[in-house]
């Protein structure tokens, strides 16, 4: 094996060693070697959420290109100094294309990219680019507008329970997009938000779901990664939405739909570009129209009129006639912050740090 050094060199760090053990050993380097594509994951591939979906994307590359590529991944890599070592290892072991799939990998990615100008880097959810560093993310908030519409129509208690992870713009944007869409169809509905301060703790997510249901929520939605809240919804006889992947196996009755992260087409496209020699540094932020944000089949409890309304929102977003952040938008005090006919631009969305009307409580800062 050409890459035994991968293990010996990282022996100093226990974490990196554990991480390195997850790398599938690459073959012997020769002239017509396949393109090596590397992935760095923040969580375990078995989280059934964020990392799981990225790994599905990696498998899609393998399925698409077969012998022409060789993929490797390193999972559960902490954001920070360890990430830099892992990325450098991948870059120096013959990888031609490297996907770093968490926001916290931004600086390490850019730093390593400077030292390896011939290697192409793709960083998810960040904003720093270079000649050989692209960024990409998905407009998940478009999906939130669709499910917000459904929730507004279907809630009987006018209370939606929202389990949130960390008060960063991406999460706040999702809550607001949900609220705006929900209030359009049901001006009396409100969102109760519980911040659990974790992306991933099935027990705590389940506790938060129980709490919200106890406080009157009859629909649960989440911006955390495990299927636990949806499972609670199923058990307690309320409804909910999946996150990142189709979670209907955990809640066959309760799941109305889910927002699916679909990285497959983007990953295939970028790998193709490297193979063709046409790869360029780009900033990609795609939504429902490209399929990066997708939905599974509707659950059995979704009435036809709700389906129709959801489809209308989805189609409106796809053809551009509707934007989740179209005015008029009111803040929590009921004061108008975006006038009718106006639309929030991407810059504002990327830095969103306030709640809109319909969200209860105050945003932790």
């Amino acid at each position: 094996m050409s890459d035994v050094s991968l293990f010996t060199a990282t022996r100093r760090s226990l974490l990196t060693l554990a991480a390195a053990a997850a790398i599938t050993l690459p073959g012997i380097v020769s002239a017509d070697d396949p393109l090596k594509v590397g992935f760095v994951y923040v969580g375990p591939v078995g989280d059934h959420g964020w990392t799981y979906r990225h790994d599905i994307g990696r498998q899609a590359i393998e399925a698409e290109f077969g012998d022409k590529v060789e993929t490797t991944f390193v999972e559960s890599v902490p954001e920070g100094a360890d990430a830099e070592r892992v990325i450098r290892r991948l870059a120096s072991s013959g990888h031609g294309l490297i996907f770093t799939t968490s926001f916290g990998y931004m600086n390490p990615t850019v730093k390593v990219a400077k030292q390896f100008p011939d290697v192409k880097f793709e960083h998810a959810t960040g904003y720093k680019r270079a000649d050989n560093v692209s960024t990409y993310s998905a407009r998940f908030y478009e999906g939130r507008a669709v499910i917000g519409t459904m929730a507004g129509m279907m809630t009987k208690t006018n209370t939606i329970g929202y389990i949130a992870s960390f008060p960063i713009p991406e999460v706040v944007r999702g809550i607001n997009a949900f609220s705006i869409a929900m209030r359009k169809v049901n001006p009396d509905a409100e969102i109760k938000v519980i911040w659990v301060n974790t992306w991933y703790d099935p027990g705590k997510e389940a506790d938060a779901a129980k709490t919200l249901i106890d406080q009157g929520a009859d629909i649960i939605t989440q911006h955390t990664d495990s299927p636990a809240p949806l499972q609670v919804a199923e058990e307690r006889g309320v409804l909910g939405f999946g996150q990142a992947s189709d979670m209907s196996a955990f809640a066959p009755q309760a799941q109305l739909t889910s927002i699916i992260d679909d990285w497959d087409p983007y990953y295939i496209e970028r790998t193709q570009a490297v193979l063709d020699g046409t790869w360029e540094s780009v900033d990609t932020w795609r939504g429902i129209d490209s399929g990066m944000v997708g939905f599974p089949e509707y659950g059995p409890n979704v009435p036809d009129d709700v389906k129709a309304a959801a489809e209308l929102v989805r189609e409106g977003i796809v053809d551009g006639t509707l934007h989740p952040f179209d005015g008029p938008i009111n803040n929590q005090m009921g004061e108008q912050i975006v006038a009718a006919g106006e639309r929030l631009d991407d810059g504002v969305l990327l830095g969103m740090d306030y709640y809109v009307e319909g969200v209860q409580g105050s945003l932790p800062k």
């Binding site: 554990a18 938000v193 709490t211 955990f250």
Partner: protein, 310 residues
């Protein structure tokens, strides 16, 4: 549950589920530590118990068997720990940490095929007549079997340690293995048994996670509860009753802060998330201010390697 259930009962029910895995893991570790063995591998043993019990319920559908499998898986991990630290006399701290890393990895490997598999959760057992009582009924008599077991296990361990001869032997081994050895007690054997009991309890705590608390398998699903259990044992000054109290206090504050957020109490959520840790530490530090209590209960020989003199 009927519609008359008060908010208090609803909150209490959530607290009970949140506290039960901590009770199991902490009471097991308490017994282990009382024998003088510090096993930091609780998290690893929990995850192993969680994944194997879930694997079993998935394959066989038999909940009772699955719980036994979870206990057994935790015990196998504990046996490994015992072999390394008691027989080969390796460092308990280093071996315990390694056990956690190992358990995390093994459970992820075993669990690969279980991701996305659903299970409806352990059945609730309503005690006839008593469960019909208002408030008290749903609060105390409508749980799954493991909750009842956790309530029985704590007093049983307390009585065992305080009032029985084997309990006395176990404590003497933990306080001074040399003296216990001189009296003719089999120090290593006692410690093996205590370590296995701790492993079984951790395995059961894991089984509760994957079969009742959040009935599914996802990697690393214990999310640090093993470490909280370890801390509870120390802060409870190695007393079973206080472990139970600490676990319910921790679970209680966790759930209350979630409710506080839902009601809209205007406190930063980051601070609210710290509350369970802060409160539990403060309360249990207050308990341990009584130095006499600490001296009476802390196992003096904890973490020390036993080398028989003859």
């Amino acid at each position: 549950m009927n519609g008359e259930s008060s908010m208090f009962v609803l909150i209490a029910l959530t607290v009970i589920t949140a506290a039960t895995p901590l009770v199991f893991a902490a009471i097991g570790e308490l017994v282990t530590e009382r024998s003088g063995v510090l096993n930091l591998g609780v998290e690893g043993m929990m995850l192993t118990g969680a994944v194997f019990s879930f694997l079993c319920i998935h394959v066989t559908g038999n909940a009772f068997l699955s719980l036994l499998v979870g206990i057994f898986a935790g015990m196998v991990m504990a046996l490994l720990f015992g072999f390394l630290t008691l027989t080969l006399q390796a460092s308990q701290v280093a071996t315990g940490l390694a056990l956690t890393i190992f358990g995390t990895g093994v459970s992820a490997l075993v669990g690969q095929s279980l991701i996305g598999v659903a299970y409806e959760g352990l059945p609730k057992i309503a005690i006839p007549v008593l469960s019909e009582l208002p408030t008290v009924g749903p609060l105390l008599f409508q749980h799954d079997a493991l909750v009842y077991l956790s309530w029985l296990l704590v007093p049983a361990v307390a009585i065992f340690l305080k009032r029985t001869r084997p309990g006395l032997v176990l404590r003497s081994v933990g306080d001074s293995h040399d003296a216990a050895h001189a009296l003719g007690y089999r120090v290593v054997r006692v410690r093996y048994i205590a370590t296995l009991f701790g492993g079984g309890c951790s395995g059961l705590a894991g089984a509760y996670l994957s079969m009742a608390y959040a009935p599914m398998w996802v990697e690393n699903m214990s999310a640090g509860r093993g470490w909280i259990a370890l801390a509870l044992v120390v802060f409870a000054v190695w007393q079973p009753g206080w472990v139970l109290f600490g676990a319910y206090l921790f679970g209680g504050i966790t759930i209350l802060q979630l409710h506080g957020q839902g009601i809209g109490i205007n406190v930063p959520s980051q601070l609210m998330s710290m509350l369970p840790y802060l409160t539990t530490i403060v309360v249990l530090v207050l308990i341990s201010l009584d130095q006499g209590r600490v001296r009476r209960n802390a196992p003096a020989a904890i973490g020390q390697v036993f080398r028989p003199t003859t």
